[in-house]
């Protein structure tokens, strides 16, 4: 017999092609546009899906193998952490509040990203794009899960972590990350990947994920550092995918450029607004600071992001519109954000505090243009009041921005002593915004944002009380009723760090007495 012996092993590229594009087929009973109905209405034109290159050429079998190895290592460390009371090794009990913010605000987004990528992983016409999105979908589910498992070791000992999934859909400040992702999920598949893969994973991830993980490392939290490491190789893959997606879309048709540019303007700004929470975490919540928000913005925003947009200039893409404003605001963002949580500390599911002497000196040094002039006097006044037993709490609900849903706390780009007010009239209703960019996002798609579930308005409409609560009862306390609806453990999850159960327990477990 002279049959040619087949090669025993396929090369990486062949194998990848067989396991992605090779599994795809053209439908015959139904036209392709009915099978993939969502990839045309956004106006993006794709002529050749085969131009999509997955830079990693990862196949499912290789994927399971890699992830399985990482899981084994991660869970071995988490077990050791639990057995050795690793939670006592952190710098200070104040640090644990950053984990509360993370599990309440970030982990639910990982889960939403899992859902979002599962959706686009079904909808894209191209097989390689679908496979890449499906793997990212599994990654995101894994991240949500490993974060829950790591943080659950803290939940055994500290308040503010017991009901994060319930909170994510209800609590006022969590509507900021929630609405960000809901906005992306309810867009078409191309806008979704530009929003999440590019604007968030590529442009902004170094300002979100990295500060939390390096904050954990500086503050002795080995559990969190380990899940950070376990997710890091996935994150690099997501970043590369984000850039690949953008280049693919831009190269397919010149008509795609203005659409993508508008999405970049929108999603840079929406992502940046979510990062307000990270800025205050870095500057105010970490007992041992890594770097200031301002420094992080300068390195990861101005330098790295600047280089990226220079690179994209050849496609006719410019920096997102809000970029300059983010640069102007870097001296103010974290101070204004933390002051807001200090105001509403009775309704927050983590503790707040005034900065220590050492913290204040660090802030003066890092923010020579703004801290002593504008923010130190405010915090020192509050500190003084608290010493007299009159800890300040703002008891009236704030006005919110219709787009980003953040209280209207941001100041005019030209004057940090004036709140920035913007408004639009649409179909006889008035809508308010914190910035020109949030207003522009609304003005472009008002029908979308007239549906904003603004927590303050929902409370005043009576939609945030438990069933059976009678708002007409003489002893009715509306704010308390809202916190019950949140399932907050009143007096344990909220209020100042000073005097909190977390503070007392942490000291006691370190043998420092109550």
């Amino acid at each position: 017999m002279d049959m040619e012996a087949s090669k025993k092993k396929l090369g990486l590229k062949e194998r990848y092609n067989h396991l992605t594009r090779g599994l795809d087929w053209e439908t015959s009973y139904q036209p392709m546009e009915k099978v993939y109905p969502y990839t045309r209405y956004e106006g993006i034109k794709i002529h050749d899906w085969d131009k999509w290159e997955d830079p990693f050429r990862l196949t499912m079998d290789a994927y399971w193998k890699y992830q399985g190895e990482k899981e084994k290592k991660l869970y071995a460390i988490i077990d050791a952490f639990a057995q050795n009371n690793g939670h006592l090794g952190v710098s200070d009990a104040r640090y644990i509040n950053t984990l509360k913010l993370f599990i309440q605000g970030v982990s639910p987004l990982e889960y939403m990203a899992h859902r979002g990528f599962a959706h686009v992983g079904r909808q894209f016409d191209g097989a390689s794009a679908r496979v890449a999105c499906q793997m990212q979908s599994v990654d995101e589910l894994r991240h949500a899960q490993t974060q829950m498992h790591t943080v659950s070791n803290y939940n055994k000992y500290y308040n503010g972590m017991h009901n994060w999934r319930h909170w994510h859909d209800r609590v006022w400040y969590l509507s900021v990350p929630k609405s960000f992702f809901d906005d992306a999920m309810s867009a078409g598949p191309f806008e979704y990947v530009v929003a999440i893969s590019f604007a968030f994973e590529y442009v902004l991830t170094n300002l979100l994920f990295v500060p939390f993980m390096s904050g954990a490392a500086y503050n002795g939290d080995m559990g969190t550092v380990t899940f950070g490491f376990s997710a890091q190789s996935d994150e690099s893959r997501h970043m590369t995918l984000g850039l690949e997606i953008i280049k693919f879309i831009l190269e397919q048709d010149p008509a795609n450029v203005p659409i993508v540019q508008r999405w970049m303007d929108k999603w840079f700004w929406r992502g940046y607004k979510v990062l307000t929470l990270v800025s205050m975490m870095m500057d105010y919540m970490l007992p041992k600071k890594v770097m200031s928000w301002k420094e992080a913005w300068e390195i990861y925003g101005e330098q790295n992001g600047g280089a990226l947009f220079n690179d994209l200039a050849r496609y006719g893409i410019r920096k997102p519109k809000g970029w300059e404003q983010a640069t102007i605001e870097k001296d103010h963002l974290s101070h204004q954000a933390w002051a807001t949580f200090y105001n509403y500390g009775a309704a927050a599911l983590f503790h707040t505090w005034t900065p220590t002497e050492q913290d204040k000196d660090w802030l003066s040094e890092k923010y020579p243009a703004s801290f002593d002039k504008l923010y130190r006097p405010r915090f020192e006044h509050w500190e003084e009041q608290a010493k007299q037993g009159k800890r300040f709490y703002n008891t009236t609900l704030p006005m919110l921005c219709t787009t980003c849903q953040i209280p209207m706390l941001f100041t005019e780009p030209t004057d940090p002593t004036k709140i920035c007010y913007r408004e639009s009239d649409y179909k006889e209703e008035k809508y308010h915004f914190c910035s020109d960019h949030c207003k522009e996002i609304f003005d472009h798609e008002p029908e979308k944002y007239v549906q904003s579930w603004l927590p303050v308005h929902q409370i005043y409409q009576g939609n945030c009380f438990n069933p059976g609560v009678d708002p007409t009862a003489p002893d009715f306390d509306p704010l308390r009723a809202v916190l019950d609806f949140y399932k907050m453990n009143f007096g344990r999850d909220n209020f100042d760090f000073e005097g909190s159960e977390d503070q007392k327990n942490f000291a006691q477990w370190h043998g420092e007495g109550a």
Binding site: P37, Y38, Y41, E42, G43, G188, Q336, A339, T340, N343, Y344, K373, L374, P377, R378, H381, W382, Q385, K390, F392, N394, T395, T396, L397, P398, M399, L400, P407, M408, L409, T411, T417, K418, I419, Y421, E423, K427, E429, K430, Y431, H432, H444, E445, E447, K448, V450, Q451, S452, W453, L454, V456, H457, Y460, Q461, G462
Partner: protein, 119 residues
């Protein structure tokens, strides 16, 4: 512009007046006093006298500020949607022409916040 969608895309606004049980929303900001991090949101009946805001509502909302007691309402400067505006304290919120979700702010001349920092 219309939202790009696979079908008709039109929705009822979430915050129309009829959903607030007889109240209308009014947002109030105090200029130069950023110790209160953002303007405040209030649900008020349109028939409520404007002076009730000054006498009964704002003391509870802003009273924690050391300068609030020094506010002289006869000299306060008011703005509606950022433009100078003069309310009649004796008239109701509705009679003052305030509509649902209007935003007003006041400036108290001479008062510039904690240590003059607009806090």
């Amino acid at each position: 512009m219309a939202t790009a969608a696979i079908g008709d895309y039109a929705f009822e606004p979430k915050d129309t007046l009829d959903k607030f049980h007889g109240n209308q929303l009014l947002y109030i900001g105090w200029e130069d006093h950023l110790m209160f991090c953002a303007p405040l949101a209030f649900p008020f009946p349109p028939a409520m006298p404007f002076k009730a805001i000054l006498e009964q509502v704002l003391p509870g909302a802003y009273g924690a500020h050391p300068e609030f007691a020094k506010v002289d309402w006869s000299k306060a400067e008011w703005f509606k949607s950022g433009k100078p505006w003069r309310p009649d304290y004796e008239k109701s919120i509705g009679e003052n022409g305030l509509k649902h979700k209007d935003v007003i702010r006041f400036r108290s001349p001479g008062l510039t916040g904690i240590k003059g920092t607009c806090s």
